[in-house]
Amino acid sequence: KLVDESLPRERSHHRQVSGGYIYTEYHPMEEIYEWMTQIQKNNSEMVTQHILGMTFENRPMYYLKISQPSNKPKKIIWMDCGIHAREWISPAFCQWFVKEILQNYKSDPKISRFLQNLDLYVLPVLNIDGYLYSWKKDRLWRKNRSPFENGTCYGIDLNRNFNAFWGTIGASFNCSSDVFCGHRPEEAPESSAVAQFIRSKKSDILCYLTIHSYGQLILIPYGFTTKPPNEELMQVAEEAAAALAGKYGTNYKVGVPSSVLYSNSGSSRDWAHMIGIPFSFTFELRDTGTHGFLLPTDQIQPTCEETMLAVTTIIDYVDKKYFPGGAVMLTSSSLGLTLCLSIVFTWMVS
């Protein structure tokens, strides 16, 4: 299943990155685990695989760290996919994103610029137990697989289980609800693992991205307010949506959830922003209801291509904001020294 003879060009194009993996299909969890191992093996100078924690059913949650070797300290961009089991296009995008970065970081000036300053942390499937369940038992499952009420009711909505106005609007205390927020924030091992990690690195994380479907939206904090916390978040999101639309004309709406979707509480995006991460966005990928969660495989490529433009626009903005005018944070005292060094270096290279 990992090899497709009908697309030889695509296969050889991807061989260096991950040996013939087909990014235009949906992959079950076993294959995604194998893919992560392969990606690290084939790109060991740039990628390392790390464990975040364990799911309820005791499966390892791995994230990939993409980091250009350097003696400079870097800041972090975090992206997670698959927090909701049935949103299959989301893990597909995380895999595509990793592949694109690794394929193009040497040749793409935008990517090579931001990789000088930023490390990318990608969690391809956050809700592993749920994702597996959507493959084997119930394609439209959403939540995790924590059992309640003596095993008669399952699942916490992981995106209602973060400590951001937890248990208020748009959530339920009833286990049988698809927006069951749990009995306390971070009760689910999956949300707890993510929260713990992000808390530990929060001073270095500049941007938190969480990928969902469907709806064609870029959401900014907060799910429980009516106005954006600041204009900049809206601006960046709008820029990203414009870049996305440029590819195939796909129309995304941008804003706080209450104005474009529905109010909610306990979301990871809101929590990340509340603990101090300046840029925090939820993406709701294709489509707007025609196929909904069952997005046909022939839309994986165009969805990923256009979303890539939006995500790199955001990362690019963050990079230029915190690392203006080149790879070094210039202060007035070091300016002269830095300019001298770069002139010497350039002369030597040419």
């Binding site: 959507s134 927006v179 979707l261 909904g292 969660f293």
Partner: protein
């Protein structure tokens, strides 16, 4: 998306909409239409009142309907199918009309169960079974899953089970 409404005292909220209808089978074909949707006050459970006027012509599906009808009539066994689309979003071409029929019928169920705070879509046809009839009509029993955005529910059970008939004229 959020159009301003007119508050009609003691009656409900009225929305006036200008829409573009897109032909599912012919994406480049659009028709303008305008609609008035009146949501009744309170939780009476009655469907919103909808008035639509279409500025232009909807394409005739007579030929396709006839082809589908003839194909169903020529089957040796009653049609049974499930999971349309499948997990990967695919629909076998011969089941496309079955899916479109479900979509149309779901539209009626959605209308009957809509309020200002709901947003429904057809998520999947879970099961469809053709019912044998002694006359020349076609009958299908569907189990459809509707996804409701606000509550994120995807196993929505309508208050009244839907039983309706689509008349496809015989030759």
């Amino acid at each position: 998306m959020f159009s301003p409404f007119q508050d009609i005292d003691g009656v409900g909220h009225k929305y006036c909409l200008e829409l573009e209808l897109e032909d599912v089978l012919d994406k480049d074909r659009t028709v303008s239409c305008s609609a008035e949707v009146l949501y009744p006050l309170g939780s009476t459970g009655s469907a919103p009142d909808v008035q639509v006027s279409v500025q232009g012509e909807l394409r005739s599906t007579q030929e396709a309907d006839q082809e589908f009808y003839n194909r169903m009539r020529s089957l040796e066994q009653e049609l049974v199918a499930e999971n349309i689309p499948d997990s990967h979003g695919n629909i076998p071409p011969e089941l496309e009309p079955i899916h479109l029929l479900a979509w149309a019928a779901s539209g009626y169920v959605i209308w009957q169960n809509s309020t200002e705070n709901t947003k429904f879509h057809l998520a999947q046809v879970k099961h469809v079974k053709q019912v044998k009839r002694s006359d020349e009509d076609l009958q299908f029993d569907y189990v459809v899953l509707l996804h409701e955005m606000v509550s994120q529910v995807n196993n929505f059970t309508p208050k009244n089970p839907f039983l309706g008939c689509f008349k496809i004229p015989a030759v």
